[in-house]
Symmetry: C2
Subunit: 358 residues, 2 copies
Amino acid sequence: MERGILAVFREAQVTKVPIADGGEGTTEALVTATGGRIVYQQVMGPLGDVVEARWGILGDGKTAVIEVAAASGLTLLSKEKRNPLLATTYGIGQLIKAALDQGIRKLIIGIGGSATNDGGAGMARALGAKFLDRSNNELPNGGAALKNLAKIDVSQLDFRLAETTILLACDVDNPLCGPRGASTVYGPQKGATPAMVAELDQALKHYAELAKSITGKDVAETPGAGAAGGLGAGLLIFTPSELRPGIQIILETAGFEEKVKHADLVITGEGRTDMQTAHGKAPVGVATLAQKYNVPTLCLSGGLGPGHEDVLQQGISGLMSIVPQPMTLEECMVDVDDLVAAATGRLCRLVQVGMQMK
Amino acid sequence: MERGILAVFREAQVTKVPIADGGEGTTEALVTATGGRIVYQQVMGPLGDVVEARWGILGDGKTAVIEVAAASGLTLLSKEKRNPLLATTYGIGQLIKAALDQGIRKLIIGIGGSATNDGGAGMARALGAKFLDRSNNELPNGGAALKNLAKIDVSQLDFRLAETTILLACDVDNPLCGPRGASTVYGPQKGATPAMVAELDQALKHYAELAKSITGKDVAETPGAGAAGGLGAGLLIFTPSELRPGIQIILETAGFEEKVKHADLVITGEGRTDMQTAHGKAPVGVATLAQKYNVPTLCLSGGLGPGHEDVLQQGISGLMSIVPQPMTLEECMVDVDDLVAAATGRLCRLVQVGMQMK
């Protein structure tokens, strides 16, 4: 984009602000935006294997950014291996612990792309909580085991969590259970059959009731509790977490508001713009904040799908596709850097024509 | 385009000027632009068959527009039937005669897409010229027969041609013969083998020399004489023709200059924009004239190919592809009206953002 802008507005000052929406790329974006660093940590993967998870420490040295997908992601498993009955968020708990060990007390957790449906029980276990059956034996990993949950022991829960702020970048409003719950809505894409969905939904319901009786927190109906297979609920139960739209957290952390105040124009973008974009996705979050300072926002898109015009009602002033001619998605992806630069140039030229007209 | 413009600039006055470049669509464009009418005429097709050729009488009732392709076009023949040795421009001569019969004394002829390589001899024959061999027999149709040309008799040539103006919309500068001539450059796409190319090139050379000795006109080297298989040469030899860039003739005839004077913005377009566009194609012709009145021209394109940026040096201020996302050419063509409307809307919005910035 910078290349395209400077090809037209040669004197422009370009301020780049890496943006993500709490999903893939959030760690990278925030680390880059704040001048932080990437950290690697070996943790338990979704099915008990070892994964090298990538997380970030921001430029302030005091904030960590963790993507759920990095430790417990669906893409860590081949399609045949997916098993939401057994998959665990234990690795996320380990990453939280690793951050706490480094003295970090502010965490940003990007939810999205998890392979799990364990209500965040694995995460809590990694941080000291104990999930016991009637015989006082610890439950195995995974959401299915929670149907046998008889007792939750939080006496050994990491005390440092109490002094920690966790911002949960969450763009879904699903409750934990029921027809709009984690198991029903997201279970199938993680490999759950209808029978598994029913089993998991029941198990999570039981888990939430027990958690309520012990912690006093009733999170089952909280919008977002169903995020990442109920990890949303787990974080709300066991940690001082706040669920907020991902783009808000990212814009705040990246200091976007300070930067946009003095801008003449914002150019943002995303892979595909359609009716979903209008519902709180990154470009609309960017535009909303820019609008506060009367700075117009234009959106470059890898593809303009059905309903993309909706974003024009959400603060975005103009759109452009990066696709210069009939071509396949694969062809676009090979050349995406050059396509973005060229399209940004075209976009700037059209704005320039307008500037010269009046 | 109008739909897209009015979706953004609701108070805009839109003046539509149909444009063509002398090729396909020229008749339609000029008839529409001037409020004329379409006429059909049965004439001889490229291989002696009968074709129903479409031509136009402009709104002034005094000007005809004829496309070479309508009577002698390559698309009138299946690929197997193409034969540049035999194909004739006789039908074009018949159309010229039909126009003269209607009292018309100004003709615009769009050259392009011809199946012929006869130097326009067929055209001249239809208008009364006689092409004879040594035995004073008339030659058969087609370019190959011209090698036996011994005499051209113009005594019976339609005398009304003398009081007629013929504007030849011609965007090529090829001479009649030689390595850049009609046979060598355009013969192969009309079905000529290398041997046929050589035969035709020789025949046209002989024809031009004989024509020169009789009419005193040496047209073999005139740029454009090689257009439409040498029809350019034939028209120059036998009629008072003037070769000019197609877009200039069309813009003039459509009264574009008068209309653009008062415009704030011109939006033009074409199927594909690439390095060739910069060399006198329609959008550049439009932009050049608009630039005279400091009106910016933007170009919408079905595809932006290699070198499309060159047009930015030729008066075009901005470009946009109509392609909203990765898709095939076929998908684009099915939806082209809506794609053009939507892209025009996007283009106008970007201009509007610029207008509001300064």
